[in-house]
C-alpha cells in the first residue's frame, strides 16, 4: 500500500459517499412504505432508476470529453483518459441497469426480458460502450486514436435522446418516465425523497468512479512512459 495523501483523501471521500448510499438503500429496502400499485417490488427502482440515469450521464460526459478532443487541434492525452473512464463506468452502470431491470421485470411483467423499445435501446447503449472500448484498444496510441474515439463518442451521444424519448414517443410495456420534470410527479413524498437521495448519491458515486478511474489510467500512462524511458536509458 503506497498511496499518497491525495489518494487517501479521495478514497475517504468515496467511502463517505458509499456509506451514505448504503444508508439510503437500507432505508429504501426496509423503511420506506410500499407503493400502492406495485407493492414491495417497486423498491428495486431505487437502484434501477439511478443506475439508468448514471448510464446516460456517462454518455454525456463521454460527449463532453469527445468534443473537447475534437475542438483542440492537438488535444492532451487527458481528454482521451477521461473519455475512456466515462465509457468504462458507463458500461458498468448500463449493465447494472439491465440486471436490476430484469429483476424488477420478472415479478412485474412475468418475464426477465422483452424486446421493448426502451430495453432494446438500453441494451444497444451497453453495446455502444463496449464498441467504444474495443475501438480505443485496437488503435495505436496517438492523436488519430483520440480523434477517432472522440467521433465515436459523439455518435454514441446521438443515440441517447432516442433512448430517452422512446418511452414517451411510443406506448410500450415499459412504464412512463418516473421523474417528469415538465409536469407533476406521480409519487408520494417519502418515496420521491428517497429516490432523489438515491439518485444524487448514485450520481456522486458515478462521478467519483470516473475521476478515480481516469486517475488510474493517467498513472498507468506515467508508469509506461517512465518504464520506456528507463529501458531506453534516457
Amino acid at each position: 500500500m503506497n498511496l499518497t495523501k491525495k489518494d487517501k483523501k479521495a478514497f475517504f471521500l468515496g467511502a463517505g459517499v458509499f456509506a451514505a448510499l448504503v444508508l439510503v438503500w437500507t432505508s429504501a429496502a426496509w423503511l420506506v412504505p410500499a407503493e400502492a400499485f406495485q407493492g414491495e417490488v417497486y423498491r428495486i427502482l431505487y437502484i434501477h432508476v439511478p443506475s439508468a440515469s448514471c448510464a446516460f450521464l456517462c454518455a454525456s460526459l463521454l460527449f463532453g470529453f469527445s468534443i473537447a478532443s475534437l475542438v483542440k487541434k492537438s488535444p492532451q492525452a487527458q481528454f482521451g483518459l477521461w473519455a475512456r473512464a466515462s465509457a468504462e463506468i458507463g458500461l458498468f452502470f448500463t449493465v447494472l441497469t439491465l440486471a436490476t431491470g430484469s429483476l424488477w421485470g420478472k415479478p412485474t411483467w412475468g418475464t426477465w426480458w422483452t424486446w421493448d423499445a426502451r430495453l432494446t435501446t438500453t441494451f444497444v447503449l451497453a453495446l455502444l460502450y463496449g464498441a467504444y472500448l474495443l475501438l480505443e484498444s485496437s488503435m495505436p496510441a496517438g492523436i488519430l486514436r483520440q480523434k477517432v474515439c472522440a467521433v465515436m463518442g459523439v455518435l454514441i451521444f446521438a443515440d441517447v435522446p432516442i433512448i430517452y424519448k422512446s418511452v414517451t414517443w411510443w406506448r410500450t410495456l415499459h412504464q412512463p418516465p418516473t421523474l417528469n420534470f415538465a409536469g407533476s410527479v406521480p409519487m408520494d413524498g417519502p418515496i420521491l425523497r428517497t429516490l432523489i437521495f438515491s439518485l444524487v448519491l448514485c450520481v456522486a458515486s458515478c462521478l467519483w468512479f470516473v475521476w478515480q478511474r481516469s486517475a488510474n489510467l493517467r498513472l498507468r500512462l506515467l508508469f509506461e512512459d517512465q518504464s520506456f524511458r528507463q529501458w531506453r536509458g534516457v
Binding site: V41, F92, S205
Partner: protein
C-alpha cells in the same frame, strides 16, 4: 418470492459498487508501488 428479487437487486447493487471501488483502490495501490520501484531503480542507476 418478491423479497428474493428485492434482496438480489440490492445485494447486486452493493456488491457491484463495492467491487468496483475495491478494484480501483487495488489498482491505484499497485500502480503507486510500480512507479515507486521504477523511481528507486532509476535513482540507483544514476548513483551507479
Amino acid at each position: 418470492m418478491t423479497n428474493t428479487y428485492i434482496t438480489a437487486a440490492f445485494t447486486l447493487g452493493l456488491l457491484a459498487f463495492l467491487g468496483l471501488a475495491l478494484w480501483l483502490f487495488l489498482q491505484r495501490s499497485r500502480l503507486r508501488i510500480l512507479i515507486k520501484t521504477l523511481q528507486e531503480e532509476e535513482g540507483e542507476r544514476k548513483d551507479a
